[in-house]
Amino acid sequence: MDIRSQISMVFHLDKCIGCHTCSVACKNIWTDRKGAEYQWWNNVETKPGTGYPTKWEDQSIYKGGWEKKGDKIDLKGAGHRKSLTNIFHNPHLPQIDDYYEPFTYKYLDLIESGPSSDQPTARPVSLITGKPMNIKSGPNWDDDLSGSPDYARQDPNLEAVTPAEKEALFQLERMAMFYLPRICNHCLNPACVASCPSGAIYKRGEDGVVLINQDVCRGWRMCITACPYKKTYYNWNSGKSEKCILCFPRIESGLAPACMHSCVGRIRYLGVVLYDADRIHEAASAPDHELVDAHLNIILDPFDEEVIKAAKENGVADSTIRAAQLSPTYKFAKVWKMALPLHSEFRTMPMLFYVPPLLPVMASIKNVDQSAQKEKMNEKAKVWPDKWLYDTSTDELFGTIHQARFPMKYMAEMFSVGDENKVEEVMKKLMAVRIHRRQVTVGDISEEKAAETLAEAGLTAEEAEEIYYLTSLAKFDDRFVIPAAHREQAMELMEFAGDKKGDTGFGFKDGTAKRGL
């Protein structure tokens, strides 16, 4: 047993309103630079849709992640052999146009152009060449375009869905969508790290944040191919790769990352989990249908005496163990089993888990007789001849899950390697908590019925209350449990204070040898 601690995240998709505040917070802090304009370390996609870069989930195009070969796994589009043989030209490198060409507008033309018979315009210019361009795509180009042939229908996850289900999904009246916010998953078996020929990418032992050492990166651009989530980005100006750093300067001082702090829907949770590093390889090589379980199984119970003892022996601080016990992500992913990893089949063991969306609100369509209503109306009033009602009361309970607008298969492709039962279990829990709360607050459901649903979803009333609290009421400190005790050591994660001891006094960061220069 080799117990380590890892910062993990949960995004509750039911709560995401697709406002992109997270993306903008991140951009303003980290990627508002030349060469990084096109990079969205945090981005929010509309699902179904093609995402960013276009169709990133389709590894037959991008060759990202790991691939099972017999008992072993190896990188799909990079690795010991390919990273070297493809070094002069990487055949699987996405191009800037797969993301979008960054642009701005010549706003000054509006002010400075001389008198003329036409309105002045602000033409778009490329941020790469500086020349005028026609904008063909941009960040979130397919935002809210559910049902569109160019975007929604091209979603790689729809391949496993039957044509009939697919058509049903795109019928005008039934059309639905949800948002998928994405950041680097700070994986346990990161493909980006494995693919880097220079050894510039590494996982921080203490908290598991995956970083690229900019001084060591030589721009061999293999990580761009290897990361199946396309969360390492090539800076075309500096010739280095860059990625989400999980706002480590903030985390080190106990603050939530900017995207999480600013999240309007409060969908984001961040906390520590303890895991067994000896079992990473075994879990990452599990057969497809066991992957999700294998993945969740290496996260250990932070209350278990054995685990605590082993963690302490491994140098995990008491405060970190305490944080693991209070961790909201541990609760969602392990205790309640409501959060699932995105695309486990890429085998990088992502540490960002998603609570799949139940929305749009499940309801059944009931036939009703509206004639009485019509009688009462003025003759001129416009009346639709409909004979149905959108019924959100919950007589049928779980029946509606199967009539969800998103085929279960579609969800399963994203969150459980195609296993519909897994997603369905989560849906049932989401539904049961709602029914339970409806019974408590509205009271139009009988107590027995509510209890019956909870039982069927495998929850107790107390658990349902806890889930409800953490979903809807949780305060900042409930959502982000970041071990704060390391503040005094925060600086040491960047550089080792011992190196400077007896070397420099106040005010100097250079060593004595350099001071005379």
């Binding site: 078996n189 880097c196 032992g205 721009g219 075309w236 140098g315 040491e492």
Partner: protein
């Protein structure tokens, strides 16, 4: 040997080697951030394929050929003793030289015509690619006009190169060479001299060590097993993968 000649064939090589050595170390240590392949494939990939691969492949084989004649001249001469084998060696070398030329031509054309690539091209990129172009064209001309290069290089030029390297400079052999060969040698010095100031730095950091490395890399800030033992000294090296 007048002053000018001794500068070109003795002074310049030493200057080049000195600047190359000190400059590369200074650049690597002083600003590791600036050492990168500066790949431009992200902005343009198709033409790069037809440029970069023939260029690097040709270049590396031709370079290894020079290296071989430098390290084991006797071996090369023995191989060349048989006319058929000499022909095979010369033709192979020439083919890779041509691939070098064609690839570099593509790369240069791409650098000066593609607007996106222009945005990431600086003067030094153009200068160094022009110098390389001159170098390969000179080399190909020498190979055609003064046969058989692989043999006379091993017998005449290798001693000159060794004399430079062993600090007993003896440029007599070079002075007797035709102008084309002399230009090839001068240009080579210039290229070596410019390495620390150009993107050629990337050839010094070719990542062969990757082959011997386990895939995953974890870096700890302190040795987590020792950190709680007050008797353990701080270690300035960060533990990896433990």
């Amino acid at each position: 040997m007048n002053f000018f000649e001794s500068f070109l064939f003795v002074g310049l090589p030493y200057l080049a080697l000195g600047v190359f050595l000190i400059g590369s170390i200074w650049r690597y240590r002083g600003n590791g951030y600036k050492v990168s392949s500066l790949s431009s494939q992200f902005l343009e990939g198709k033409r790069l394929f037809w440029g970069s691969i023939p260029f690097h492949l040709g270049l590396i084989v031709v370079f290894l050929g020079h290296l071989l004649a430098f390290l084991i001249p006797a071996g090369v001469l023995a191989w060349n003793a048989h006319p058929l084998r000499l022909l095979i060696l010369e033709i192979t070398g020439y083919a890779f030289g041509l691939s070098f030329l064609v690839g570099l031509g593509q790369l240069f054309y791409r650098r000066i015509t593609n607007p996106r690539i222009q945005a990431v091209t600086n003067e030094m990129d153009l200068i160094i690619e022009l110098l390389l172009l001159v170098q390969v064209i000179l080399g190909l001309c020498v190979a055609i006009f003064y046969r058989w290069g692989s043999s006379w290089f091993a017998s005449d030029l290798t001693p000159y190169l060794w004399s430079i390297l062993l600090f007993r400079p003896d440029p007599e052999a070079v002075l007797a060479m035709p102008l084309l060969v002399q230009l090839h040698i001068i240009n080579a010095s210039l290229i070596i001299l410019l390495i620390p100031f150009t993107r050629l730095m990337h050839l010094l950091v070719a990542p062969f060590h990757y082959l011997g490395r386990p895939y995953q890399r974890v870096i700890w800030n302190w040795d987590r097993k020792k950190v709680r033992n007050p008797k353990e000294r701080w270690s300035p090296t960060r533990p990896r993968n433990n």
